[in-house]
C-alpha cells in the first residue's frame, strides 16, 4: 500500500483507526454521555467503511445500508439518552461504575 494514489484501502484504514478510537473511549471513560459519543464514533467508522466499499464496487447499495445505520443510530441515541435521564433521576450520577442496580 502506498501513500499515493488514494485507494479504498486508505479509507478502510481511516475507518479502522476511528473505530479503535471509539473502542478506546468506551473502555476508558467513566462518563456515560461520553461513552455514548464513543459509540457514535464507532458507528461512523462503520458507515465510512460501507461508503468506501460502495465506491470500490461502483454501486450505491452500501450507501443505502449506511442510511439504515444512521436511522438505527438515531433510535439508539434517543432510547439510550432516555434511559440515562431516568437513571440520573434515580441516582444523581453519570458514572458508569455506579450503574449496578441489576447486579446480583
Amino acid at each position: 500500500m502506498h501513500l499515493y494514489p488514494i485507494t479504498a484501502y486508505h479509507y478502510l484504514v481511516l475507518a479502522a483507526a476511528l473505530f479503535a478510537l471509539g473502542a478506546t473511549g468506551v473502555m476508558l471513560r467513566r462518563n456515560i454521555i461520553i461513552l455514548f459519543m464513543s459509540i457514535e464514533l464507532m458507528l461512523n467508522a462503520v458507515n465510512l467503511n460501507l461508503v468506501a466499499f460502495s465506491r470500490l464496487n461502483g454501486h450505491v447499495v452500501g450507501q443505502v445500508f449506511a442510511l439504515f445505520i444512521v436511522a438505527v443510530a438515531a433510535a439508539e441515541a434517543v432510547v439510550g439518552l432516555g434511559i440515562l435521564l431516568a437513571f440520573y433521576r434515580n441516582k444523581e450520577t453519570l458514572n458508569i461504575d455506579e450503574v449496578n442496580l441489576l447486579r446480583g
Binding site: 488514494i6 478510537l21 473502542a23 459519543m37 464514533l41 438515531a74 441515541a77 432510547v79
Partner: protein, 170 residues
C-alpha cells in the same frame, strides 16, 4: 493529487477531533468536537461521491443527534464529575488491555491488507443516469422497501420508548 491532499487533511481532522472527543474533560467540549468530527466525515462522504449520505449526516447527526446530546448534557446538572468517583471494583488495567487488544486486532487487519498485492486505484465510476440521490432513492423504494418500512417502525418504537423513559414516574 487533489484527492490525496483532501484525504490526508480530512483524515487528520477526523482522527484529531476523535481524540479530542474521548479526552475532553467537560462533556460539553466533547459534544462540540463530536459535531466537528461528524462534519469532517460528511466531507469525506462528498469526496467519495455519496452526496445524499453527506447531507443526511449533517442533518441527522450534526443537526439532530448532537443537539439531543447537548440537551442531555445541559439537563443533568453535574455537581460532582463522574471521573472524581473511584470505584474499587473498576478494573482499569483490564480496560486498557481490552482496548489495546482491539487496537492490535485492527492493526493486524490493516497490515494484512497492506501486504496484499496493491489494489488498483478506485475506478472512476461510470457516468450513470440521475444523481446520487436519485440512485439511492430508487434502491430505497424498490429493492429495500420492506427494510425501509421496518426502519420507520423502529423509529416510531424508539420515539414511544423515549417518551416513556423520560416521563416522570409518579
Amino acid at each position: 493529487m487533489l484527492e490525496a491532499i483532501a484525504f490526508y487533511g480530512l483524515a487528520a481532522l477526523i482522527l484529531g477531533f476523535g481524540v479530542m472527543v474521548i479526552t475532553a474533560r467537560s462533556a460539553v467540549h466533547s459534544v462540540v468536537f463530536l459535531v466537528l468530527n461528524f462534519l469532517a466525515v460528511a466531507v469525506v462522504y462528498v469526496v467519495l461521491g455519496a452526496e445524499f449520505l453527506a447531507v443526511i449526516q449533517v442533518l441527522v447527526y450534526a443537526g439532530g443527534i448532537v443537539v439531543l446530546y447537548l440537551f442531555v448534557v445541559m439537563l443533568v446538572n453535574q455537581k460532582r464529575t463522574p471521573e472524581a468517583h473511584h470505584d474499587p471494583h473498576r478494573k482499569t488495567g483490564l480496560g486498557i488491555m481490552l482496548a489495546s487488544a482491539v487496537l492490535a486486532e485492527v492493526t493486524a487487519i490493516v497490515v494484512y491488507t497492506a501486504s496484499a498485492p496493491s489494489a488498483s486505484p478506485i475506478p472512476v465510476s461510470s457516468p450513470v443516469v440521475g444523481g446520487n440521490t436519485e440512485q439511492v432513492g430508487w434502491l430505497l423504494y424498490t429493492d429495500y422497501l420492506i427494510a425501509f418500512e421496518v426502519a420507520s417502525m423502529l423509529l416510531l418504537a424508539a420515539m414511544v420508548g423515549a417518551i416513556l423513559f423520560a416521563r416522570r414516574m409518579d
